[in-house]
């Protein structure tokens, strides 16, 4: 192992996270800490498996709960522990785990852990400097605290869906469970801020992440505008309030598109010279400012379409980037997978998984000069590390462990 790789794993060395969270937000957040050496233990049960374990894609014909690449993507570098939280004896096991952990994460419906005796007050009693983060849809309190949802619906509650769409059609949303990616980072920042505070003061604390509130961060100024002026911004298609031309244009080939965004005069003149093959359009006083171009978007978009429709995305990117015009193909999944820039960053990390097989997953969007993390081990099979967790970590003897197995606590 290289010297720097050792440092990377020492960042969170000795930090143990009992990860009761499931699906996207919580597991994604704790995975980033697992990459840097935190011991993250996913607590799961085959009786109520993580939704992603039954999701796709998965190798053809394999129906096991360990076969989902979607689950595998969010849980790399973690350990897997089976515990049936519905069982009365689960509380005792969970508390034993929390007593030797630094952080607890969970994303159950608010109130569930309290009901089974594993709420914040109970857990801090067994670990006084515990940091616990609950990551729910709309927070632990308030009239909608118990309301159900997930990233695909929460983006609608949060206002993202309403701002995505064509002005003449119904809003569409982003196509993915978008707010998951927002809440993930809010959770990481909050957890690491709390961990830093604990380092200095010895104090733990409880973190209430409302994914709805976290997502307010990505509305630019739309929310603060509505709060103070009553204006309600609406969906603009691909247009922008400040820049024109600004859009996505059809290219040669089936369902091929190129995004082009002109953000200053220089870029406009460069684009105009290319599409009109001369100075005429660049010098046209009717389009000589952003305000004039915003008023003439229909005709400008038609001119650009006429130029792009005949050309390949590769040619358009190369031609426009050569003269400094922001342009990029709308990357398909294949494009993203094969992208030369992402390849140069080694963005897709291969992971050999005994059931899913050899598949690549995303790496963090950041690169560290001093503590780059090594490729993490594959995500855990359900209950993969029971032996280590129950016997070595929690100190259950052979007989006790067998009893827990027979009683259905470990499942």
């Amino acid at each position: 192992m290289r010297e720097d790789r050792v440092d990377a794993l020492r960042v969170f060395e000795g930090l143990r996270i009992a990860d009761f969270a499931w699906v996207g937000v919580g597991p994604n957040a704790t995975m980033q800490m697992a990459f840097h050496g935190a011991e993250v233990i996913r607590i799961e049960s085959s009786l109520k498996p993580d939704t992603f374990r039954s999701g796709g894609p998965r190798p053809a014909g394999v129906n096991s709960l360990d076969a989902s690449a979607y689950f595998a993507k969010f849980n790399r570098g973690k350990l897997g522990m089976a515990l049936n939280l519905q069982h009365p004896r689960a509380v005792e096991v969970a508390k034993r785990l929390v007593a030797v952990s630094d952080i607890v994460t969970e994303s159950f419906a608010p109130g569930f852990l309290n009901r089974i005796g594993l709420g914040w007050e109970e857990l801090r009693a067994v670990k006084p400097d515990l940091i616990m983060a609950s990551m729910s849809m709309e927070g632990q309190t308030g009239p909608h605290a118990g309301f159900r949802g997930f990233g695909l619906t929460l983006q609608a509650t949060a206002g993202v869906t309403g701002l995505t769409g064509w002005p003449d059609r119904q809003p569409v949303g982003t196509g993915v469970a978008y707010t998951d990616w927002i809440a993930t980072h809010v959770a990481i920042i909050a957890l690491l801020a709390a961990l830093d505070h604990r380092r200095r003061t010895g104090e733990g604390q409880y973190i209430d992440v409302s994914q709805l509130e976290a997502s307010s961060l990505v509305l630019d100024a739309a929310l603060i505008d509505a709060l103070n002026t009553g204006r309600a911004q609406s969906a603009l298609g691909n247009r922008d309030l400040r820049y024109a031309p600004h859009g996505v244009f059809p290219c040669a080939g089936e369902d091929r598109w190129c995004a082009i965004a002109v953000t200053n005069e220089e870029q406009w003149r460069a684009l105009a010279r290319i599409i009109s093959e001369g100075e005429e359009l660049a010098d046209d006083s009717r389009y000589a400012s952003a305000a004039l171009r915003l008023a003439a978007q229909d005709e400008l978009e038609a001119l650009i379409c006429a130029w792009t429709a005949e050309r390949s995305v590769e040619e358009i990117e190369a031609t426009l980037q050569a003269v400094g015009v922001p342009a990029h193909r709308v990357a398909t999944m294949r494009d993203a997978h094969e992208d030369a820039q992402l390849a140069q960053r080694e963005h897709w990390w291969g992971s050999e998984h005994p059931v899913v097989g050899d598949v690549s997953y995303e790496s963090p969007a950041w690169r560290f000069s001093d503590t780059p993390p090594p490729r993490p081990p594959h995500s855990p099979l359900l209950g993969q590390d029971n032996e280590y967790v129950y016997r070595d970590l929690l100190g259950y003897g052979e007989e006790e462990f067998t009893e827990l197995l027979i009683d259905g606590v470990v499942q």
């Binding site: 997930f150 961060l217 505008d225 001093d370």
Partner: protein, 394 residues
């Protein structure tokens, strides 16, 4: 109460792509110095405005809780002042094109020698090196290059921008996470490092399972509009209500709850809830299109006769996975956000009392700090004098 990150200081030199990163850290207690050119940062002139063309709410939102110092980075004396500040700071956030800061003698390598503690976070469209590192870009290019756009929008039209500036926001959120990990790395190594955040990579990490479907099955996930896509299949999500839209997800098992809710509202569902409960989009048995259309029409009629907020309140009480497609005005009026006292008032030195969104996460022991955005150079005197006297003492 002292904020969680009170001991730390950050310098924020970013353009629009990055301002959110240090805005979040400021909320958790970091002393963030917004370094602006004399005359003020360009995004102070960006709308929406509080009053006719004046008082940028964009600036107020992205720079709340920061202090402002003006430095002309084209001037060597001011660059030296910045180096002095860097020696006394824990983070520096910047978003210039790769190499631009080095040309001014302000790159990571230039500063690291005298400021070993400094965590230097760069945010760029494609990262610090590689074939596209110098490509021209904007937020739209981030959404396109990362792939999210190809999943977003109606099938029969161009791919869509995912709402407002998501590529910028996600770049900054990633930078915030990375900065915090680098802070904990510093506790171990004793030194800061260069953190290189890529907007394209940030967006490429939002693709859900769609890229995996390409890699494993060779299937491009469809752009399904207001629907939920599983590779090349989709189920409808967005439906018109009486006063807007709602999002409803047809989950296996959820159809019995929907039928019970409809009956409670005096509507007799004609669909067979048990039959539909057995059908999952991810499964192998799919109903034919006519059956689906008939079912959706019945659900759509039920939703279309009721208001979005009413559907949310009553549907959720019947355990149905439904929510409103909220406008920003709906968020302003949200009973949930009101009950949690999410919005708060700050006294802005230039704009007066402003109502703003509050803490993105609530910590039980350490506060989220709400403060106004600074006026241009508001803190020049206290910051630069303190830095000057510190330099003299050395």
């Amino acid at each position: 109460m002292v904020a969680a990150l009170a001991p730390y200081r950050a310098l924020d030199l970013t353009a629009e792509i990055g301002a959110l990163a240090s805005r979040i850290l400021a909320g958790f207690g970091v002393d963030v110095l917004r370094v602006e050119p004399p005359g003020g940062h360009a995004s102070r002139r960006r709308g929406p405005f509080l009053n006719d063309g004046e008082g940028s709410l964009y600036w107020a939102q992205l720079n709340a809780g920061k202090r402002s110092v003006t430095l002309d980075l084209e001037d060597e004396a001011d660059r030296e002042r910045l180096r002095g500040l860097a020696r006394e700071s824990d983070f520096l956030f910047e978003s210039d094109p790769p190499g631009a800061m080095s040309k001014r003698g302000l790159g990571f390598d230039d500063l690291h020698g005298a400021a070993q503690q400094l965590i230097y976070v760069s945010m760029t469209p494609f990262g610090q090196s590689g074939p596209k590192a110098q490509w021209a870009a904007s937020d739209l290019i981030g959404a396109a290059s990362g792939g999210l756009m190809s999943l977003c929008g109606d099938r029969d039209r161009a791919p869509l921008r995912p709402s407002v500036e998501q590529a910028y926001a996600l770049t900054a959120l990633n930078a915030g996470s990375a900065a915090m990990i680098a802070l904990h790395a510093r506790h171990v190594t004793g030194r800061g490092q260069h953190v290189d955040v890529s907007m394209q990579a940030a967006m490429a990490n939002t693709l859900g399972n769609a890229r995996l479907y390409w890699e494993m099955d060779g299937i491009e996930t469809i752009r399904a509009g207001g629907a939920r896509a599983f590779a090349d299949r989709a189920t409808r999500i967005v439906y018109p209500s009486a006063d807007g839209y709602v999002a409803f997800v047809r989950m296996p098992r959820g159809m019995t709850d929907l039928a019970a809710w409809m009956r409670a509202e005096g509507v007799m569902p004609r669909f067979d809830a048990e039959y539909w409960a057995g059908i999952s989009i991810a499964g192998s048995v799919l109903p034919d299109d006519d059956e689906v259309a008939e079912l959706e029409a019945e659900i759509a009629a039920f939703f279309a006769a009721r208001g979005s907020q009413q559907l949310y309140e009553s549907g959720q009480r019947h355990r149905v996975l439904i929510c409103p497609v909220n406008t920003v005005q709906d968020l302003v009026e949200s009973p949930q956000l009101a009950a949690r006292v999410f919005f708060c008032d700050v006294e802005d030195p230039a704009l007066g009392r402003l109502r703003t969104p509050g803490a993105p996460a609530v910590l039980s022991r350490t506060p989220w700090l709400e403060g106004p955005a600074p006026t241009v150079g508001q803190h020049n005197e206290e910051v630069l004098q303190a830095a000057g006297s510190a330099a003299e003492r050395r």
